[in-house]
């Protein structure tokens, strides 16, 4: 009698790229809704433009490289890139800026490097860095959150759409009337004008920890992030290490001189730190691979964010920090190669 015999592996992994990417998108959804609630419909338009150009760019590259089209288009990775880019953009962004970022992300940072699985740089952040350096003026139109009593002229849905498509504002309104500084900007300008943190925090856009509205988006991002942790789509190392890298120097500086250093809570909720910790830095392709390497990578990202926010001229440093640490990943992986059983340990002479 012949028994059915199976070769290893006996346990097949049920994780496939499409379901993984869909779950990441699902985890981003609550925060996206919060974003629309607080900062208006601009986010939806940005997301649509980014998705359109990311998917089109992906289709073009896959077609040019004569690879199977369905596989690349149904793994949803371009949509995740587009969603992360949309989270990084201000609500009022002209479509060509978003399109440049999305195309650079997918065409250059992803497909010229060999496509999903080979990209050294996080595509969304590479695209964002390019437009941040190339169009700094167009990435300044952050609007005020729809919460509390802020003296501010909100744009209607149609006006927002018109701005996204044409880059021009309604007749009566200038750029100054519709744009408001982000909490990080307010903090940076205030501190450079020698005001104390508590004076700056009296500004109505500041909330309990970070900025009004921003905190809620941060909360929903954290919920999505913890859900990804529970579903084991991301591991705990990178989020914890990013948090440590950002909060340890922030806490030390805050305790030493609370007048000129914003609290750790402000650093956590003031900008894109939570998005970075759970969704951006955890990109499995461009992050380090071993647990020890991930801790080093995450800590480096957090520390660089703190340094750029505190001493640099950019208000937030998430994109720069992630790209810089992406470059360091091959070197980190080289140093933190796990020990292979049966081989002599490194440093052993035998």
């Amino acid at each position: 009698m012949e028994f059915a015999r199976r070769e290893s592996p006996y346990w097949s992994a049920r994780v496939a790229v499409p379901s993984l990417m869909l779950q990441v998108l699902a985890a981003l959804a609550p925060a996206a809704l919060a974003h629309v609630w607080f900062f208006g419909p601009g986010f939806i338009f940005n997301l649509l433009v980014a998705s359109l150009f990311a998917v089109a760019g992906e289709a073009m590259m896959v077609h040019l490289r004569k690879r199977p089209l369905e596989v690349a288009l149904t793994d949803y990775s371009a949509l995740v890139t587009a969603a992360l880019l949309a989270f990084a953009l201000p609500s009022l962004t002209p479509w060509w800026v978003t399109a440049t970022g999305a195309l650079f992300a997918v065409v250059v940072a992803k497909h010229l490097y060999g496509g999903l699985g080979f990209n050294i740089f996080n595509p969304a952040m590479a695209g964002y860095v390019v437009i941040l350096v190339a169009f700094p003026m167009h990435l300044n139109l952050w609007i005020a959150p729809r919460i509390g009593d802020i003296d501010y002229q909100y744009l209607t849905v149609l006006q927002t759409l018109k701005f996204t498509l044409t880059g021009s504002l309604p007749e009566a309104l200038g750029f100054d009337a519709v744009s408001r500084a982000t909490p990080l900007d307010v903090m940076k300008t205030g501190l450079s004008n020698a005001r104390t943190v508590s004076e700056i925090r009296a500004n109505p856009i500041m909330g309990d920890f970070g900025g009004r509205g921003w905190e809620w988006i941060g909360n929903f991002l954290a919920i999505g992030g913890f859900w990804l942790l529970i579903k084991k789509i991301i591991r705990w190392h990178i989020p914890a290490a990013v948090g440590a890298g950002l909060l340890i120097p922030a806490t030390i500086m805050y305790l030493v001189e609370p007048g000129t250093n914003p609290s750790p809570g402000f650093h956590m909720f003031g900008g894109a730190a939570i998005l970075c910790a759970f969704f951006i830095a955890t990109d499995p392709v461009s992050a380090a691979t071993s647990p020890k390497g991930r801790l080093i990578f995450g800590f480096g990202v957090g520390l660089l964010i703190y340094c750029i926010r505190t001493w640099g001229s950019y208000a937030d440093g998430v994109a720069f920090a992630v790209i810089i640490m992406n470059v360091a990943v091959p070197a980190i992986d080289y140093v933190t190669r796990p020990h292979i059983v049966g081989h002599p340990r490194r440093g052993d002479s035998s």
Binding site: R65, L112, G114, I120, S313
Partner: protein
Amino acid sequence: MAELVVILVSTVLVNNFVLVRFLGLCPFLGVSRNLEAATGMSLATAFVLTLSSASAYLLHAYVLVPLDLEYLRTLTFILVIAASVQFTEIMVRRLSPLLDQVLGIYIPLIATNCAVLGVALLNVQESKGFVQSVFYGFGASMGFALVLVMFAAARERLEVADVPAPFRGTAIALMTAGIMSLAFMGFSGMARP
């Protein structure tokens, strides 16, 4: 002390010689094909750059300026750099055959690294003191080493990546260097004294 820290941060990150000032690109692209060669090159450059920025300062302050020969600056600096490269090569060969095996072929290449001459000239232009000059040279070489080692490791990974044929090799390496340079713009504004 604080001033020296600012010089180090500024030369390593903010005004990185390779990614921001675009000096020393030849070894950056030429010796970054594998990690061990890049590490060797970094070490040798660090030694020569520190040595040559110190000797160039001394030569400028105690020979050229008293004799009113400042117009010979570039010429003498090239001479000093070539001499310190030669000195390093001879010393390494005599003192440590092992190190010579690792660094041997890279040491003569340093003479053509324009970052070395750049550091010596910038030191004089910005009229730094002796200690500052040495730190400037040391920081510049550390910045060079940092990006060279990261870049070499990244290139080793690119070798095995499924890069489209027209972009393989130097093309994708230059694009990577460009994105690294973009990322280093994030440090702008730091280290203002």
